[in-house]
Amino acid sequence: MNAMWSLWKAELLRTVRDRRFFTLTLGMPIIFYFVFMNQVGTHARISGTFWNAYFMVSMAAFGVVGSSVNTLAVRLATERKSGWVRFLRTTPLSSAGYTLAKILTQLSLSFFIIFVVFFVAQFSAHVTMPPMRWFEIFLWLWIGSIPFAALGVFIGMAGNAAQVLGTLVYLVLSMLGGLWTPIQALPRALQEVAQWMPTYRFAQPAWELLAERPISWVSVAILLGYAGIFSGLAAWIERKGDAHQQE
């Protein structure tokens, strides 16, 4: 247990020093938020709520997906390549402890990203809603980020390709999932595609909460399905990799 916390602490310390994390993963959603608020105007109506709140959710989701899919994948790929993971396996830190530490790190980072995006939106665009609503949306985005961590783990197994693949998946999923442009503004065909994107299913329940509608269980189910697929694939490759491991 202590071993896990020790790793968690070190991981957070590494992130705090990671300039790339602050400029890209955290910076991009915030800059996008300012740009889109200026272009569209904060009080445009959309999907039963206001643009400033709607896009706040979009950007929080965008940031969380970036940190899980992109940052985590690249970091895992580097750790595997550098022999660090192998080295850790010789310590009393169990693989469960390692995985748990990574998940906790991701949850901590997601918490931080959502908090910052919400904070910026509240102060720059005066997003208002009852405290309970803030709490619910926050909680959903936070917990709902876990499937993307699993996707990050999966992409992290791609070795040298992880960096490119991670960035690509992160941007494409965000775009197709309607995190940049609301899907109502997308062509019909892309709207159909969006329905099946984990990113859309991640943000949609939060948008529903904004509009005071109940969470759609279809979204939760689809997201859970993706979580299963991603972690299943990762576990499968891990086992396969072990059998073929050289020296």
Binding site: N2, A3, W5, S6, L7, K9, A10, L13, R14, R17, D18, T78, E79, S82, G83, W84, R86, F87, R89, T90, T91, P92, L93, S94, S95, G97, D242, H244, Q245, Q246, E247
Partner: protein, 294 residues
């Protein structure tokens, strides 16, 4: 390890190896690259499973992380994560163990006191190796597994490293290290296991291994009055062979012995020094030997 074989696809890295490392012993696993040393260690640590045979660590399954509480490990080809300082990296490892050594003690052991605040992944190759030594010691282990520990270290660092290792052994703890350098093995080990092509080809005390592998040869034609018995009393002489008046001495210090022979005006002529250093003799042995001898 009992009757252990490990295959990677078509290639057999370790072939029917049986060995037992007793508590409190200091064992060097010696052999050229590709002899199966690293693979053997990886199996003892539970990093890979043997294809056949049984490997136990403290009498248990090496794969179980609980078995790793009292070991310290240095592997080859590991680099530490970025954006952590030397101290933070060591602290991270200290956090993995119940009774870690004090941070100052670890920095001293690695000789990294002055680099404590340096980003760990920016260390030079030799210092990186020393940091990994500190990480291996972090949990105050009973057993150390060191895979080619001195690669990249300079002379001073090596000396410091061997001093630390001797202190470690002196406190009654167990050491297993791999090396391709017989001289290194001789520095700390009380037992040397020589591996080649996945097999154990020798297992003995370093002195007797040295007798068999080491040294250059000095050969000369002895004068008629030369007393061969006296030759054996000279320092650094390992073995003497004679063929008529042709004498061949095996030595681990050809320069010194040669100097003695000449300064003391021994009656010799046609002097020849042959054979490379330990390395060459050892290479010759490992490429030629097929059977097992002790």
């Amino acid at each position: 390890m009992k009757d252990v074989t490990k295959q990677f696809g078509q290639k057999t890295a370790v072939r029917d190896v049986t060995m037992k490392i007793a508590k409190g012993s200091a064992v060097a696993l010696l052999g050229p690259n590709g002899a199966g040393k690293t693979t053997s260690i990886a199996m003892m640590l539970g990093l890979i499973r043997p294809t056949r045979g049984v490997v136990t660590l403290f009498g248990g399954d090496p794969l179980a992380s609980e078995q790793h509480a009292h070991i310290g490990v240095m592997l080859q080809g590991v680099s530490v994560p970025d954006r952590l300082t030397v101290v933070e990296t060591i602290q991270l490892f200290r956090g993995f163990y119940k009774k870690p050594l004090a941070i100052d003690r670890l920095l001293t052991a690695a000789g990294l006191e002055e680099d404590a605040r340096v980003m760990a992944n920016r260390l030079s190759g030799g210092k990186m190796r020393r940091l990994q030594f500190a990480l291996a010691l972090a949990g105050n282990p009973e057993v150390l597994f060191l895979d080619e520990p001195t690669v990249g270290m300079d002379v001073t660092a090596r000396r410091h490293f061997w001093d630390e290792l001797r202190r470690f052994i002196a406190s009654g703890k167990t050491l297993l290290l791999t090396t391709h350098d017989l001289q290194e093995a001789d520095l700390v080990a009380d037992r040397v296991i020589v591996m080649n092509k996945g097999r154990i080809i020798a297992d003995a005390a370093p002195e007797s291994i040295k007798m068999q592998f080491a040294g250059r040869q000095i050969s000369f034609v002895a004068g008629v009055h030369l007393d061969l018995q006296k030759l054996t009393k000279l320092p650094d002489v390992i073995e003497i062979k004679t063929a008529g008046r042709q004498v061949t001495i095996r030595t681990n210090n050809s320069d010194g012995l040669l100097r003695t022979l000449i300064m003391e005006q021994w009656e010799i002529s046609d002097i020849q020094v042959t054979g490379g250093g330990l390395e060459e003799a050892f290479m010759r042995l490992t490429t030629e030997t097929e059977g097992t001898f002790v």
